[in-house]
């Protein structure tokens, strides 16, 4: 079982390609290019070199002693994706795709961003290779993640604010797709999550699977065995699928944590497997989406911009339906508490996205035996969120 999609990019009934006809040719071109380099030793060697010497991989698998002791249950390890260059797992995918874009002869790179981490990572790899970079970002997210907007501009990228819809990640993706459909000949769309039309969900998963491959080796080194449980947050789903994928054939429990937002009502959360989520088609792929009874996409809410999205990667939808991965949620309040908890017990400030995973780990660890092992994916660091959390603390005293 390799968990490969079929030729049309489907995992079970999820995935595929739901795009305007104009994008079929560039997607075919991308698929051909990707499959020709996927197992190409020169391509993989160049990527490995960049991951190691530019981004600082392998990232540590760190035993969180004080967090473990304070919760009094499972031994908790943190996969330190926050220690990557640019501060999150997003760079893994960007380095892979930028090498592909270069080999395809593309000079102009576009991307969407939610929390700004993918935008920063894209701006970074474009600076590294001297390529033009345009990043689309919802104006609501620009407000929440002002620092990342500044970082992208510092790196030479043009950040274009998107004022339509909810002014968040979903709207940024719409705008990036409109740009791509207009500039197909010159432009490479560097999509940041395991989403969108085939081959993106597969390609992004492959580039992010370095997380799980390393974690698997590292935990065997530390503990001499595989972990019992993996926990990761799920927005579009790239850090989680990256951690999970190399363990799918193992007897390991896997938990994806969605954003529970401020309540269970439709519109108050971004949990696609919760109230309001059902099968649909959005932004190129068939998956679970948050929609109303007439098929309109509903508003989502999360304290974390990176999880504030109405759809989820198609491979996750399949892993959900086949019960291979459990999907749960942490809400805003729990995530903020976990943000504080990890800062105080370990001296590590997690991204608000990753805080959702930490929150769920903190909920279940005490119920697990002291010899059980849990790996939590710390997908990013929280520097970008400090201002926002400061604002929220003032509001709530």
């Amino acid at each position: 079982m390799n968990h490969e999609p079929n030729e049309q990019g489907y995992w079970g009934e999820y995935g595929g390609r739901f795009v305007p006809e104009t994008l079929v040719a560039p997607l075919d071109e991308l698929t051909t290019a990707y499959f020709s380099y996927r197992d190409d030793p020169a391509f993989q060697a160049e990527l490995s070199d960049l991951l190691k010497n530019y981004s600082g991989r392998p990232t540590p698998l760190y035993f969180a002693r004080r967090l473990t002791e304070s919760l009094g249950g499972a031994r908790i390890y943190l996969k330190r994706e926050d220690l990557n260059h640019t501060g999150a797992h997003k760079i893994n995918n960007c380095l892979g795709q930028i090498l592909l874009a270069r080999r395809m002869g593309k000079k102009r790179i576009i991307a969407e961003t939610g929390a700004g981490q993918h935008g920063v990572a894209t701006a970074t790899v474009c600076a590294l290779f001297g390529l033009e970079c345009v990043v689309y970002m919802g104006t609501e997210d620009m407000r929440r993640q002002e620092l990342n907007v500044f970082r992208m501009r510092l790196l030479g990228a043009e950040v274009r604010g998107v004022d339509s819809g909810s002014r968040t990640l979903k709207d940024a993706i719409n705008e990036a797709l409109r740009d791509w459909v207009t500039n197909v000949d010159t432009t490479y769309y560097l999509l940041g999550s395991a989403l969108g039309p085939h081959p993106y969900p597969l390609m992004v998963r492959d580039f992010q699977s370095v997380i799980g491959r390393e974690a698997r080796e590292q935990i065997i080194e530390h503990e001499g065995r595989l972990p019992d449980t993996l926990v990761a947050c799920v927005g579009g789903g790239s850090n989680s699928i990256g951690l999970f994928h190399p363990f799918l054939n193992d007897e390991v429990r896997m938990i994806g944590v969605e954003a529970g937002g401020r309540g269970k009502e439709v519109g108050d959360h971004a949990a696609r497997f919760m109230n309001g989520g059902s099968t649909g088609v959005l932004q190129g792929t068939r998956s679970y989406i948050l929609q109303d009874e007439h098929g309109q996409i509903v508003a989502t809410h999360s304290v974390s911009a990176g999880l504030d999205y109405a759809s989820i990667g198609p491979e996750h939808a399949d892993l959900h339906d086949t019960n291979r991965v459990e999907y749960v949620s942490s809400d805003d309040v729990e995530a903020l508490a976990a943000f504080k908890l990890l800062s105080e017990t370990e001296g590590i400030i997690p991204a608000l996205e990753s805080s959702h995973a930490v929150a769920y780990a903190a909920r279940i660890a005490p119920e697990m035996t002291r010899d059980s092992i849990m790996i939590v994916n710390l997908s990013g660091r929280g520097d970008k969120d400090v201002n926002q959390v400061q604002g929220l603390s003032k509001m709530h005293g």
Partner: protein, 268 residues
């Protein structure tokens, strides 16, 4: 023979070319949309494209995005659009093609949609985000109900794709004039003509050209090499500017577009 086939046959026999206006259903409101469609029919529209509003119109430019948003703010749903089509059908025989993203249709269910659309007197469906390889199921349901799934082709489509698309195409073929989203532009690209010429190799069906067509001159350009011209954003923009006099504004604009509408029936 369905209405679309009959209309293009009439055009061919009269040695005339077609005019296909687009309006978003429910912008500024459903009653006005009905009146606008009837006006367009009076002025000689050969097919009316009725846009189903969607929250995430990724293939549309700003004009149709805003129009779709206004319709959604009015609470317009797919059942409302079907009612509008049915009201129109009671008063006109001009063919109606719904122009939609897939999700609202999928949510209603392809089977239920196809039956309701047939009952409403709709003649075809055009899906902006469904390509041939994903279209098998919906295409079958539509065909069972004598509705045409209108295929889109684009300048980036390879000949191999054009040939595959032609095999399942029904009604007419919608050729996208250029890479890009909907919206007006200065002139009709050479790409559009090249695309139509390439597509002719694979199909006998009429070919309509759309995306970016907003002036009388552009329509005449399109008519030199294709069977019909689609005008969308330019009409929607009239409705946006004159929400309270939408019928008059659209009427005046369309009369200005084409001399033949000023004196009905005359040849161009």
């Amino acid at each position: 023979m369905n209405r679309i086939e009959r209309q293009f046959k009439l055009l061919r026999e009269g040695r005339r070319k077609g005019f296909i206006p687009f309006v978003t259903a429910g912008d500024p409101d459903l009653a006005s949309s009905l009146e606008v469609c009837l006006k367009l029919a009076d002025l000689g529209a050969d097919v009316i494209e009725l846009g189903v509003p969607f929250s995430d119109p990724m293939a549309d430019g700003p004009t149709i995005q805003r129009s779709s948003q206004r319709a959604l703010e009015n609470g317009v749903t797919l059942p409302d659009v079907l009612h509008l089509a049915a009201d129109f059908r009671r008063r006109s025989e001009v063919p109606v093609v719904l122009f939609s993203y897939f999700n609202p249709i999928m949510r209603m269910g392809c089977d239920r949609f196809a039956k309701s659309a047939r009952d409403a007197g709709v003649d075809g469906l055009l899906l902006t985000d469904v390509i041939d390889s994903e279209a098998a199921a919906i295409s079958r349901k539509l065909a069972q109900n004598d509705l045409d799934l209108i295929s889109l082709v684009a300048p980036t489509s390879t000949n191999e794709r054009l040939s595959a698309i032609a095999k399942n195409a029904r009604g007419f073929v919608y050729a996208v004039s250029r890479a890009g989203v909907t919206g007006t532009q200065g002139r009709v690209s050479d790409e559009a003509k090249k695309l139509v010429v390439r597509m002719r190799e694979f199909t006998e069906l009429p070919i309509a050209v759309g995306f970016g067509i907003s002036t009388a001159e552009q329509i005449r350009d399109v008519w030199r090499f294709a069977d019909a011209a689609v005008v969308g954003s330019a009409i929607v923009s009239q409705i946006e500017r004159h929400p309270n006099e939408a019928v008059d504004a659209v009427g005046q604009f369309v009369r200005g577009l084409l001399p033949r509408f000023a004196n009905q029936g005359a040849e161009t």
